[in-house]
Point group: C2
Chain length 174, copies 2
């Protein structure tokens, strides 16, 4: 799919068919994750794909019990390794949030390009997800998303609730 079309029609999807993603589509989505840029090319990410229903229930419980997440055939959990240089001279060991967010952004756009729905979840308990998936010391969870085909293609309608360009772009000065 054309990049701008994917960006324009990507929405948070919260209702899914049970069908497993097409394997070739899935391979392209994971390749988009793999190719993501990162600071000093450290690639400090690990994506855990959860299909087991008991395991999904544990992740959902750690996401404030948002039960709809488990409707998707896969729940994707992006973990980040807390390494990296001190971006901007102030981010310290939170710099990995930038790198993993790049990979997760490539993931959600790639999924849209394949007709797959995602929903970037930020409301999760890091420690609880770590226990559920055996995430080791030195790693933290950055994002969670369901992944699957939306119940209707209408899920992909154009975004209309964004600030005008004049509020988010300026010239020469802030």
């Amino acid at each position: 799919m054309e990049f701008h079309e994917a960006v324009k029609t990507r929405r948070s999807v919260r209702t899914f068919k049970p069908d497993e993603p097409d394997p070739e589509a899935m391979a392209r989505v994971l390749e988009a994750v793999r190719l993501s840029p990162s600071g000093s090319n450290r690639q400090p990410w690990k994506f855990v794909l959860v299909r087991d229903s008991e395991k999904k229930a544990e992740v959902v419980a750690a996401c404030g019990g948002q039960a709809w997440i488990a409707e998707a055939p896969i729940v994707v959990v992006a973990c980040g390794h807390k390494i990296g240089y001190n971006r901007g001279g102030y981010m310290g060991d939170m710099s990995f949030l930038v790198d993993v967010s790049i990979a997760f952004t490539q993931f959600i756009i790639a999924a849209r390009a394949e007709g797959l729905g995602t929903c970037w979840i930020g409301d999760f308990e890091n420690e609880a997800v770590k226990v559920a998936l055996g995430v080791p010391e030195g790693y933290d969870v950055v994002a969670v998303s369901p992944l699957g085909y939306p119940k209707t293609e209408k899920a992909f309608h154009e975004t209309d609730r964004r600030k005008p360009l004049s509020e988010i772009v300026s010239h020469e000065k802030f």
Copy 2:
């Protein structure tokens, strides 16, 4: 451009023609920024486009003196508003790094899709850039990038220095 083609051929570009980006291409790039998703749709970003050579020199000085950045006709500085919920229960007021990184990722892929080069710079001094551009309290700089046409199309060669999928994806557990 097809999304996967853009992702596969996006590279850090460090040498630029002086030409200003095509206005329609630029409009599409900024639209991709504008449409980015964010936590609770807060859109906590502001992109400052710097073309003035004295102002560019100030930004370059704040990027450890990486003089090549100023070769590009535009230097883009992405600022983030430190608002937002506490993602993952641990990110606190650093949660905005995730949102602005989403928008900056859409920016770099959109630029590539238009034949424009970028280079995500993390080595900058936040406070110095803030002074140069008059960035107010409550905002921090998340990323800097030159933007312009690369000197040669060869700048867009496929990425080959990435970890294999087996190291970055796992199933059911970390």
